[in-house]
Amino acid sequence: MSVHRTSVALVAAAGALLALGPVIPNWAVSLVNVSLGIGVVVLGMMVLMRTGLVSFGHGLYYCLGAYAAGLASNRFGAPDMLAMVAGGALAALLVSAVLGLLLAKYREIFFAMLSLAFSMILYGLLVKSADLGSTDGFNVHAKSIAGFAVEGDAHRLGVYSVIVITAALCALLLDAYLRSHRGRLAEAIRDNELRVEYMGASVFATVHLNYVISAVLAGVGGALMAIHIGHIDPEMTYWPQSGEFVFIGILSGTGSVFAPLLGSVVFETVRSYAYEKSPDTWQMVLGVTMLMVIVFLPGGLWSLASRLRGRPDSARTGG
């Protein structure tokens, strides 16, 4: 089988970003780090949206991933970026595999609200944990990559490279999954669950799997952000954070794994620009952006890309 063009494009984009790393200014490095860190979480939102689900509580796994990374580094003596990312993924995997058994039975607003409830429980727990810094959280400092110590400029470049490579890997794997027979069931479930069962597949098992995949992506994103920011706190599982993931998910569209990553770049750019130009009304700028997207580009920003290339959107929005 030939290599899919999305895979080629992903590898090329990651290569270009890595090459640019040493020469671009600090603000650009920071923009890429944040956009891709959050973008990985939004990849997770995309899996859910393809399945017809929206979670208002994905901050749960974002925060879990970040705390797992922080604990790996500060408590378990593994201040290595790769160990931290693995820790974030593992924590999200374990928790979502259990919660998913319940959540995979719910749909629509019930699924959304139940997700929110779980994320707020974690918030409550963290705020009460003096040991974990309560509302202040704690600082995290990654010291090495795969055993190689990094400091100063090497650290800056190291964080950037780890984020770029991890995001590209996540997107590659997710793309392969979504194109597989199993992955394509997501949209079938969104359209007609009855028929999926009548074609011999388990809707529950597929929803559960997709939920776990989306949680792991959120956990990885959380770990990446912990590494980038160097600090974690319970706000990461507070509802506005979860809402932001939904926001970027809808802004981006679900047509391609590129959509969440690019959508996240657009979001971060608009936000920092709006924040700089009008610190008091930047939310309004984001609100208007969203309004325009929903009215004029219901398939998200990605549908604009497909339209420009003169192709119909290959996969529809979460709808």
Partner: protein, 258 residues
């Protein structure tokens, strides 16, 4: 010929309504059976019980000698009983080919539960293309299912049941919503595919001309019971059938519910 489907003493009540009462049906492999009956007679309920959507209150269903009573639709499909729906159940946002690919993909990737007889003939893409050709849908393969006219939706719904090569095919009113002049063309295509696959078929139909033309045996339902069972010539002459199913002395059946 060997019996492939054997329903014994099926009962189903919905509150005060008896939807199935002592239903006994034994179908031989390769048979083409028509299910007739007025609205609410219990035809769909029978299909729903066979495919596991409804659990009978009493009785048992054997498929190829194995008891499948009360199993989930998923399990029953995997064993080789597939169905179409009175109201087409499609993946509306997907293309025609993608609708078929879902089923084929499930077989191709989830071999575990599937009976060996469901094994695909060729690659998934070939299986889909062959089905599209057989049903004259090849030209529409990239068309979005949600935008198709009703007749084509019916055809696609049936194709989705057939593309995984079932051993028993249950069709719920394949020609309802299809215009009079298209009915026979649709059924000719379906039956040609049925013969090529040597699949056993039970189909619900209100149009007696259609029934007579394609089946060797008719089951006539009335108020949850089977009031006649035999070759078309015999069943269609039956006094009860003429009165309660065909509706002599009564105005013809009007709009049907879902």
């Amino acid at each position: 010929m060997a019996v492939i489907l054997d329903a014994r003493g099926l009962e189903k009540r919905f509150g005060a309504v008896t939807a199935a009462s002592n239903i006994n049906v034994s179908v031989e492999q390769g048979a083409i059976v028509g299910l007739i009956g007025s609205n609410g007679a219990g035809k769909t309920t029978f299909l729903n019980m066979v495919t596991g959507y409804l659990r009978p209150d009493a009785g048992s269903i054997l498929f190829d000698g194995r008891d499948i009573t009360g199993q989930k639709p998923r399990r029953i499909t995997q064993q080789g009983i597939c169905r179409s729906f009175q109201i087409p159940q499609l993946y509306n946002s997907m293309s025609v080919a993608e609708n078929l690919m879902v089923g084929v993909g499930i077989v191709a990737s989830g071999g575990r539960g599937w009976a060996a007889s469901n094994a695909l003939d060729g690659t998934p893409e070939q299986a889909v293309s062959r089905m599209l050709e057989q049903f004259g849908l090849a030209g529409l393969r990239h068309r979005q299912a949600g935008l198709l006219p009703e007749g084509t939706r019916k055809l696609l719904d049936i194709a989705m049941a057939m593309v995984v090569r079932p051993r028993v095919l249950l069709l719920d009113e394949p020609t309802s919503g299809v215009s009079a002049d298209e009915k026979f063309a649709l059924m000719d295509m379906v039956m040609a595919a049925v013969r090529a696959m040597q699949v056993t078929v039970l189909f619900v139909e209100h149009d007696m001309e259609v029934v007579e033309r394609y089946v060797q045996r008719i089951l006539a339902f009335y108020e949850g019971r089977i009031i006649a069972d035999g070759p078309p010539a015999e069943v269609l002459r039956d006094v009860e059938v003429r009165r309660f199913v065909i509706g002599e002395q009564d105005p013809p059946a009007g709009d049907r519910h879902a």
